[in-house]
């Protein structure tokens, strides 16, 4: 009898999974993972022989397994039950390695830049979890800073006498871990950013973001559960920028203060650590008292702009960081009520979103250009619009890779043709659009 029960239960389980697989409606997106789910790969002689079809079917079944989200949620319980969890335990989380990390070779010639566009949509390094907050380990490399500065110097040379070039690179949150034993990361961040300053030439201006943030190290300037800084961290970066650019920063107490609760960001989704889950972020942000209109352009030209928002007050939950500019876009133009004739272009990755919104107090027009997605020609944009300031505001990880530096350099010669063909292939030949940020540190 036991044999019959054993066999029947096993077969029932397998058959039930098959039935549910065919009966349940297929999902297109995963809100938890913030991505599109795999599509079915068509069968052809070529896709069969090169194995893409079989892998595609594997990926499709992986992504559409019945009750997938429930299984994933339950596995969290399993992982939390493997042992004893202490709230104040220091932990190291190692992300899945998706593809070999390209070595950041020091290349001072720049004569022939062949580095690949290099930013991964998923994190692959190690993270430190401390009291429910997640931090990257490390603090960049002064070696790479020189390459970033060299690219800035090239823009400063080309734009001499017409447009100022300003560097406002943000340190990693590791610089401000509230524990003495991690002080070394503070020093590493500082040295990396100082190396940018020491290598700048041709009148390029260094905004000492690190120093300004370091003065306020006892305040919460980065999210615990997300890889971005919060509005307070970005505000201090803005103060540093103003000091470098010769502006008087607007007191944030004179801005409209808004609050959003229960933000579990990217680093929670990545680590799925219980202590992080128990420590959701609160976003306090400040809206400058300036009237704005904003439009967003497609990656390749200025045709058919669509309406954009400087602040997206409705973005909540896992998308709370989209509050700033509504998230990443190739190019956003903000026109403000500040009629002083000054115009700026901000070259940024997602860290720059929370920073750029403060600039509306100082410029009549602010162009926010994401170097990862835009194919617009930066030099044309600057010349045609009479741009006064070219501001590089990005997270340090964006400035610390040959690939990203190359992408920023190439903005000068873009011709409106898509950079990507049309997507890149990463792990298990899963095709993804390369639109996401990276935390990669050197």
């Amino acid at each position: 009898m036991a044999n019959k029960i054993n066999t029947t239960l096993f077969i029932l389980f397998i058959v039930a999974m098959y039935i549910f697989y065919f009966l349940l409606p297929p999902q297109k997106i995963s809100l938890e993972e913030k991505r599109k789910l795999a599509k079915y790969t068509p069968l052809s002689y070529k896709t069969y022989l090169n194995g893409l079809w079989a892998k595609g079917v594997d990926d499709y079944i992986d992504d559409h397994f019945p009750f997938r989200n429930n299984f994933i949620a339950m596995s969290e319980v399993f992982h939390a039950s493997k042992g004893i969890q202490f709230k104040h335990q220091e932990k190291i989380f190692v992300g899945k390695r998706k593809k070999p990390v390209l070595e950041n070779i020091e290349d001072t010639t720049h004569a022939n830049i062949n580095f690949k566009d290099d930013f991964d949509e998923s994190y692959s390094g190690s993270l430190l979890i401390l009291d429910g907050s997640v931090y990257p380990s490390g603090g960049g490399s002064p070696r790479m800073s020189k390459l970033f500065s060299a690219m800035l110097n090239e823009y400063a040379e080309k734009l001499k006498g017409k447009t100022r070039v300003l560097s406002a690179v943000a340190p990693l949150s590791s610089a401000f871990i509230p524990a003495l034993k991690f002080r070394k990361y503070n020093t590493q961040n500082k040295e990396t950013l100082l190396a940018i300053k020491n290598s700048l030439a041709n009148g390029a201006i260094f905004c000492d973001v690190f120093n300004e943030l370091d003065k306020h190290a006892n305040e919460k300037m980065y999210f615990s559960t997300d890889h971005h800084w919060n509005a307070i961290g970005a505000y201090y970066a803005y103060v540093a920028f103003c000091r470098g650019a010769g502006f008087v920063p607007v007191d944030r107490n004179k801005m409209e203060k808004r609050i959003k609760y229960n933000f579990l960001g990217s680093l929670y989704q990545l680590t799925r650590d219980q202590s992080v889950k128990d420590n959701p972020d609160t976003l306090v942000y400040f809206v400058p008292n300036v009237t704005t209109t904003a439009v967003r352009y497609n990656p390749n030209n200025f045709n058919k702009p669509t309406k954009a928002n400087v602040f997206s007050h409705n973005s909540t939950g896992g998308n709370t960081y989209l509050t700033f500019l509504g998230g990443d876009a190739p190019l956003i133009k903000i026109t403000t009520s500040v009629k002083n004739g000054k115009k700026a272009v901000v070259i940024k990755n997602s860290m720059g979103n929370a920073f750029a919104v403060y600039l509306i107090s100082h410029y009549e027009e602010v162009y926010v250009l994401d170097f990862r997605y835009s194919n617009h020609n930066l030099m044309d944009l600057i010349e045609k619009n009479g741009i006064n300031d070219l501001i590089f505001s990005l997270g340090m990880y964006g400035a610390m890779s040959n690939g990203t530096i190359n992408m920023m350099r190439r903005l000068a010669t873009n011709n409106g043709v898509p950079k990507f063909e049309p997507s890149i292939v990463v792990d298990s030949n899963k095709v993804v659009t390369p639109l996401l940020d990276t935390l990669k540190t050197d």
Binding site: A2, K4, F10, F13, K34, G83, I84, I92, V432
Partner: protein, 430 residues
């Protein structure tokens, strides 16, 4: 057909190679049988083995040989770029054992080519063994019976194997990646030993889990495969370990290499070294595997020489000595690069680094899982399903709850498998 479809799914290109191997060996075996007793049979046997080994060497060791030969002098051809056909190491040894057994007259050659193709391509063992001999399942290839008892035993074995692979080996694998892949120059000695111990756990539960699944699936389809692992970490000596670990490979080398070379009657020490060198190389096309084999070969010889002395040592100490040697050997197995291996071995015995942040949390957060690992090292099935225990109360309840245990293991493994497909992006991209 199902086995071929299964193979073609993973290996659409090299399925032709497997089919060629099957039909080539099928015809050669018939010829050998026809000419048995004649010199021609021996020639055909040697040619057949040579062809099979050549294919294995070309596909598995081509790049390795090229690298080593080109270090001596420039070669007139490019480095082979072919990928390794799945299962070639297993099915090549299966056909060699078949050919030799037919030559020796221990087997009748299979007359139905499709049956022989099925023997080679049986999906259950194709990916990770065991090396199934025709002598074991020849009768079942022709006809087999499936009943509730056999199917149920297969189900239990499959669920156990899947659980071992997913819930133990993969979890250990995550710790291995963490401690052995992320720059061990920053490791303390304690962390290095922890990492390599986790690799020992991963390797055993991964490989034996696959074997369990293969044996279980085979049972569901009416085949009886021999055991491939017999609690190797309970071994009292390196020699004992060898008899418990990857048994089908050990038996292959014993019957087709060690004994034909003279076994323990003639040049035993040489024979042991040759067998272990081959065992090492079989595991991978790299010198570290050869070193790993020689490492075991040397200890086998030492144990032979110190046999009487070792017999006097308490069991506990013998077990500890064996475990340390085995765990250490995993370092040789893991690091393909000798410079890395040297640095890691150095770290195992001396490191200036103190224990890193997060080590204690890794230990605490896996405490119950460590207990689970130990529990799964115990052969519950052998203990509680044996005939001598048939009236035992625990045995009674164990058998009663077996279906529930199996379905729980299957559910847990499915859950973690699905979880492994979780691939969060840092930012919303729909």
């Amino acid at each position: 057909m199902f086995s071929l479809a299964f193979y073609a799914w993973e290996e659409p290109m090299w399925i032709y190679l497997m089919i060629f191997t099957a039909f080539f060996d099928y015809f050669m075996a018939i010829l050998i049988e026809r000419w048995r007793g004649d010199k021609k049979a021996k020639i055909v046997m040697l040619v057949t083995i040579l062809v099979n080994l050549s294919l294995l060497i070309f596909y598995k060791y081509g790049g390795f040989l090229y690298d080593n030969l080109s270090a001596i002098g420039k070669l007139p051809f490019d480095r082979p770029k072919n990928s390794l056909p799945v299962g070639i190491s297993f099915y090549t040894f299966m056909v060699i054992s078949y050919i030799v057994d037919v030559y020796r007259g221990q087997l009748k050659a299979q007359r139905n080519p499709l049956n022989f193709l099925m023997f080679i391509s049986l999906f259950q063992h194709l990916v990770a063994g065991p090396i199934v001999r025709y002598s074991q399942i020849g009768n079942q290839v022709d006809s087999r019976t499936i009943d509730w008892s056999k199917f149920s035993t297969g189900v239990s074995r499959f669920c156990l194997g899947l659980f071992k692979k997913i819930v133990i080996a993969n979890v250990a694998g995550a710790l291995v990646t963490k401690y052995l892949d992320a720059g061990f120059n920053d490791l303390s000695s304690v962390e290095a030993w922890f990492g390599i111990t986790m690799f020992s756990i991963q390797l055993y539960f991964d490989f034996s889990g696959y074997s369990d699944m293969a044996i279980g699936l085979a049972k569901m389809f009416g085949f009886d495969f021999d055991e491939n692992f017999r609690h190797p970490y309970a071994a009292q000596s390196v020699g004992d370990f060898y008899r418990r670990w990857h048994i089908s490979l050990g038996k292959f080398f014993r019957d087709y290499v060690y004994i034909p070379m003279g076994g323990n009657r003639k040049s035993q020490l040489r024979n042991i070294l040759v067998v272990w060198l081959l065992t090492g190389i079989w595991h991978g096309a790299s010198w570290n595997f050869a070193l790993w084999g020689l490492y075991f070969g040397c200890f086998m010889i030492l144990e032979k020489l110190l046999e009487k002395f070792l017999a006097k040592i308490p069991r506990f100490l013998r077990h500890t000595y064996t475990l340390i040697l085995i765990v250490f050997s995993r370092a040789i197995f893991y690091f393909v690069d000798f410079a890395q291996l040297k640095a890691f071995v150095g770290t195992l015995f001396y490191s200036k680094k103190s224990i890193g942040v997060g080590f204690s949390s890794d230990v605490y957060e896996h405490l119950f899982w460590f207990v689970l690992v130990l529990l799964f090292c115990i052969p519950w099935d052998e203990i509680y399903t044996s005939d001598s225990r048939v009236n035992n109360k625990v045995s009674y309840y164990y058998l009663r709850f077996k279906p529930a245990i199996n379905i729980a293991m299957l559910f847990l493994a499915t859950m973690l498998l699905v979880n492994s497909t979780y691939n969060p992006f840092l930012y919303t991209r729909f």
